[in-house]
Point group: C2
Chain length 358, copies 2
């Protein structure tokens, strides 16, 4: 049984709108999806993300999934067209959207902002996937005049698609995403821009570190200009702090003989260590909720199978498995992920069966 | 038949020394491995990365795998102790090591620098793996007075362990690694340090973008102080350029109404796009040389074991395995990596046994 009992109307058939439609249709909910691009709309419908809107539709919830600059305008139009519906949006900035809506003078009781922290480097309906929101945070952003019913409904929407709802005020949200999303975007872009002045031979030395740090530098400029300009007030102070630290490092590297230069560099790397440790479920992604047990196996055909056969025989289902495997070594490490309830049983069963755990 | 016909002596049983030993022993080469830490040495030998050095050893090639600050000293000692051997090192900086060696007044004809572009966040012998160098660039760094025989031998060493040798001068190498490795390290650390002033709730919104951009911020401060101070002259100018761009972005975000502010932000993201496009084989990684077969399994206990049992029974050893598992879905996808020679056999055997391949 779906949590949401009623029609849902999705406005905007890009990555987020299409993914949301796919997830909701899968739950048996009546979803209509519309887009100013009829091609995008047709693609999303073919893909299974909803049906065409009908003249007598009476949506309970409307989700506006359009670029940030258009969000307030579309939300206002939907509030006017469907006075009985709750309207939410998925824009990555919340304060500027709310301010623009407040300037319209509309009654905003039926509006609740939201922001699912989910995305891909790819965009458009074709990139849509029903599990996009699974295990991801979904920020629900009520304001002083929003109805509680809207807050509940948008929270249910997040739960319906497997996301983890969390409630924040608009300014709190914008401050948080500045740190975890907008500043990393700018820093990654600035770093990747350095590669414009390196030779092909130099870039051929690139390793995983460079690839990881610059992956999001491939993001869409048009979208990011909208996001960053809408959240400039929160992003600029963080970048100013970063610039202070950067200048200290440049000073140290420019005069390594000066007292304190080594300490400045060391402190920079150590602060980074402590910062990255604060990120929850570092190796996770969606899988932060699994417990992990590492077993050692002999590196020969059939050993991994024997381990997994015995795990199957004791009735434990693995959620994930990673092989840490060196072709030349005599030993392989197998990282087994299970639901936390099963961790103790897995450890005692494997130990009892004679497996060596790390 | 191995390319290198003779003993190889590895000095330093950390991640690189142990990995190199594993890869060379696998090729049937006589490898001795030594470390000032007898515990590390014993672990590397247990792991299969070589044997104890013997008094009458006569190595053809010596590979010094110690931290950058100790590299020149150890290279000098090895050149003195084994006058018939070629000596190379694997330090991530090359100009400063060479200068320090030149100051000893030793004959450096038998010394050739090198730098395999391979590593892991984990360190020490336990993290060693024979495939660490597979498909990775290995920079060979001769100098004006080095013998050609040394250049050839170190090139063979790189090829022997599956790396891709490329020859650079010391200063060229240091300039290249500043851009592709040292600057990304500092930038990632500076970015991760911003997380020290965010709340737990804010950090809970972290997504893959933040995780990727800050992954290398977990690196070892002691090692990086050595690397960065030894290559300060190459790193500082790149950081200065980055600081100029950063200040332009801060200026734009601080006054979004000013003419050119949107253009500055747009240009920043676009330059990042063009920079990241220059990175070759973006989706690469260490395992580019394995073939991959994807099988579908029912999502229930024992199915993965049954698959792997049958793979073991047909005598195929897996190099890697990844489970693509969507909770709630009835199907799991198993990505099986094997040596390329075995791909056709794996496909035909699995198909014959009734497994569905993707």
């Amino acid at each position: 049984m779906p949590r949401i009992n009623g029609q849902i109307r999705i406005v905007g058939a890009g990555l987020l709108g299409t993914s949301l439609g796919l997830a909701l249709v899968k739950k048996g909910i009546d979803v209509s999806i519309t887009d100013t691009s009829k091609a995008a709309q047709a693609l999303a419908i073919d893909y299974g993300a909803g049906r065409l809107p009908l003249p007598n539709d009476s949506p309970k919830l409307i989700v506006v999934c359009v670029p940030p600059d258009n969000t307030a305008g579309v939300v206002a139009a939907e509030l006017a067209a469907f006075p009985n519906a709750i309207v939410t949006d998925v824009a990555s900035v919340k304060q500027s959207v709310l301010l623009e809506l407040q300037q319209t003078g509309l009654d905003l009781a039926h509006y609740v902002g939201s922001h699912p922290m989910a995305g891909r480097e790819k965009s458009g309906a074709v990139a849509g996937r029903a599990d996009l929101f699974m295990g991801r945070p979904w920020v629900v952003v009520p304001h002083l005049s929003s109805d509680l019913v809207g807050l509940d409904l948008v929270t249910d929407l997040a739960l319906e698609v497997g996301a983890v709802p969390t409630v924040m005020e608009p300014i709190e949200h914008d401050h948080a995403v500045a740190a975890v999303s907008h500043v990393p975007q700018i820093v990654s872009s600035l770093l990747a821009a350095r590669l414009l002045s390196t030779s092909a031979q130099e870039i051929s030395l690139a390793g995983q570190g460079l690839r990881d740090t610059t992956r999001i530098a491939a993001s869409d400029p048009a979208l990011w200009v909208q996001i960053l300009s809408a959240n400039a007030g929160q992003v600029a102070p963080v970048l100013k702090d970063l610039a202070i630290d950067l200048n200290a490092v440049i000073g140290a590297l420019t005069d390594m003989e000066a007292g304190g230069s080594l300490a400045t560099i060391s402190r920079t790397i150590e602060s980074g260590n402590r910062g990255v440790e604060r990120i929850p479920g570092k190796h996770g992604g969606g899988h932060a909720n699994y417990a992990t047990v590492v077993a050692m196996i002999d590196d020969k055909p059939g050993e991994l199978a024997r381990l997994l056969t015995e795990i199957g025989q004791v009735g434990i289902n693995l959620e994930d498995i990673k092989l840490e495997h060196s072709p030349g070594a005599q030993i392989g490490l197998v990282e087994l992920s299970v639901l936390p309830d099963l961790e103790a049983k897995l450890i005692s069963d494997l130990t009892g069966l004679g497996w060596r755990l790390v």
